[in-house]
């Protein structure tokens, strides 16, 4: 009996491990950098750059030819010691703001960045006005309605 349990347990453990192993990606066949800081920088950068062929993927996730080329370019620039800002500027000057998942803040992207705040302000102030009006209404204003309901 105990043997059977052990087998079942082992089997379920093996299955669990198998499931976890699906998380491993092998899109980027390149070797890792010798410097761990560079590797980290490369991984962060490639996961913030949009693959323009398959627009909802980053170049770190995409198998498209272009993504492969862009990874190679980012790798080269990281190896050459360019800063993150310089690498992003390299891409934006060629592909436009859309290439970055988090576009830089500048006049043309200001509305994009500030829109949530702006909408919150509009909604918030409308809400505040409605509330303050309502509190200033006479107390018995609902009375006729209540009477109607009954």
């Amino acid at each position: 009996m105990s043997l059977r349990i052990r087998v079942t347990q082992r089997l379920s453990l093996a299955m669990l491990l198998l499931l976890l192993s699906l998380q491993v990606h092998a899109i980027d066949p390149q070797q890792s950098f010798s410097n761990p800081a560079d590797q980290q920088r490369y991984q962060v950068l490639t996961s913030e750059i949009r693959c323009l062929v398959c627009q909802n993927e980053t170049i770190a996730d995409s198998t498209a030819l272009l993504a492969n080329d862009l990874r190679r370019e980012v790798r080269r620039m990281v190896e050459e010691g360019m800063t993150d800002a310089e690498i992003k500027e390299f891409l934006v000057s060629r592909y436009g703001d859309f290439v970055l998942y988090r576009p830089q803040f500048k006049p043309t992207t200001a509305l994009l960045w500030l829109a949530p705040l702006l909408l919150l302000l509009i909604g918030g102030s409308t809400f505040a006005v409605v509330l303050s009006r309502r509190s200033r209404l006479p107390k018995d204003v609902d009375a006729p309605l209540m009477a109607d309901d009954q």
Binding site: L65, D69, R94
Partner: protein
């Protein structure tokens, strides 16, 4: 706040939002405007197809309006637009320069032999680095260059004669061609 405005304002806001959504319906999300329009075209130096010892650069294109066409034999849209390119080169006397992108030069040569060659010359970009410098993300792409090497227009996707007449030709007329 006047009573009418209280209802009109949200209604107007709603209509404006619907307007944006409606326009959005007919916009192509795969079309990404090029940051190079009205700017100097990026420099490059590539070996020529058919003449490996010679190189193609921007200087070769100076002095007249020209098209730079990004193509490859693996690209279906390029096959589709090929007849248009032949026609534009022949009927409109337009110099077309090819950027042969991530392709096999032998296949590219065969393609030109079999389908006709609309190009003045082709630069071979096997690694795709020049294409990145030009912000290319999907062949075919066609750039219109001024005699001074300024990018006047970029078309993404296969060309046809209507697109040529509507989007390219007006940019040439009145400018001495």
């Amino acid at each position: 706040m006047p009573k009418g405005l209280k209802f009109a304002l949200p209604a107007l806001a709603f209509i404006a939002l619907m307007g944006f959504f409606f326009i959005g319906l007919f916009r192509d999300p795969s079309y990404i405007p090029s940051p190079f329009v009205n700017k100097q075209a990026p420099e490059f130096d590539l070996p020529k197809l058919l003449q490996e010892n010679d190189s193609l650069t921007l200087i070769d294109m100076r002095g007249e309006y020209s098209l730079v066409n990004v193509w490859a034999t693996w690209c279906a849209g390029c096959r589709q637009e090929h007849d248009t390119l032949l026609r534009v080169a022949a009927d409109y006397n337009m110099p077309i320069y090819g950027l042969n992108w991530k392709d096999d030069p032998a296949k590219a040569t065969l393609w030109l032999e079999q389908l006709g060659n609309p190009y003045v010359a082709n630069g071979v970009d096997e690694m795709g680095t020049t294409a990145i410098d030009w912000g290319v993300y999907g062949a075919p792409e066609t750039f219109l260059l001024s005699p001074e090497g300024i990018v006047l227009h970029k078309h993404i996707g296969p060309l046809n004669i209507e697109i040529w007449r509507n989007d390219f030709l007006p940019l040439l007329q009145g400018q001495g061609t």
